[in-house]
């Protein structure tokens, strides 16, 4: 499906179907720089990292980047799932849209079997 492929392969700058009323670029810092840096609490991300028995220590920068990467991941998977919902002409994202996205997009293969 072209839509799913577009979600996985093309660069983020490409515009979606909605032209002028497109959602603001997630990376463009419009408000105070401090607010845009990370929305996820670093403490929670750190707790996840520490849950790995093989990890000894993680630097502050690493935690920050993981938090930011998780945000990007949420945006990405939400958008990919939305493509499926759009085809069903629905305006509410359902769990099955997510499952479809996971199956369709190679990068999400690591999620298979983990969400149940």
């Amino acid at each position: 499906m072209a839509a799913a492929a577009a979600g996985s392969g093309t660069p983020r700058e490409e515009e979606g179907p909605s032209g002028e009323t497109a959602a603001p670029q997630p990376q463009a810092p419009t408000s105070a720089p401090g607010a845009r840096l990370s929305r996820l609490p670093l403490a929670r991300v750190k707790a996840l990292v520490k849950a790995d028995p093989d990890v000894t220590l993680a630097g502050q920068e690493a935690i920050f980047i993981l938090a930011r990467a998780a945000e990007l991941f949420v945006e990405t998977i939400a958008k990919d799932a939305y493509c499926c919902a759009q085809q069903g002409k629905r305006k509410t994202l359902q769990r099955r849209d997510l499952d479809n996205a996971i199956e369709a997009v190679d990068e999400f293969a690591f999620l298979e079997g983990t969400l149940d």
Binding site: A58, L72, Q94
Partner: protein, 147 residues
């Protein structure tokens, strides 16, 4: 108290906000879908951590650093994250540097302030010429009065 790493969820409110901002206006998300995305994000962090840790161990380091995480992104086939992450990292480093300098500056200012308060008294007398003139006139009047 988390029994499994997957139970360590990221805050629902933040996840919801990120999803809503990623999607066009008017699009909603069911509770099940949102909680599944939240869990997926946790799994993502765990997976990325594990990958990053491999790079750290290869480099014979015990501490995960930023480049380990970036390498992990490429390994996980999320190369498109690498550029925005690098930009975010630079901004973060600038902010950290700014914070450090600000706290150092605050300390300097605090020391300066005690000196400046003493200097200000004399500075006021020097700078305000009008007040000086007035003072002189007052003094003259006083002298007249005294005399």
């Amino acid at each position: 108290m988390a029994e499994r790493p997957e139970d360590l969820n990221l805050p629902n409110a933040v996840i919801t906000r990120i999803i809503k901002e990623a999607l066009p206006d008017g699009v909603n998300i069911s509770k099940e879908a949102r909680s599944a995305i939240s869990r997926a994000a946790s799994v993502f962090v765990l997976y990325a951590t594990s990958c990053a840790n491999n790079f750290a161990m290869k480099g014979k380091r015990k501490t995960l650093n930023a480049s380990d995480v970036l390498s992990a992104m490429e390994e996980m086939e999320f190369q498109r994250f690498v550029t925005p992450l690098k930009e975010a990292l630079e901004a973060y480093r600038r902010e950290q540097k700014g914070k450090k300098e600000a706290s150092e500056q605050k300390k300097k200012d605090k020391d300066k302030k005690t000196d400046a308060e003493e200097q200000d008294k004399s500075r006021d007398e020097d700078n305000d010429e009008d007040e000086e003139r007035l003072e002189e006139e007052e003094q003259n009047e006083e002298e007249e009065v005294d005399n």
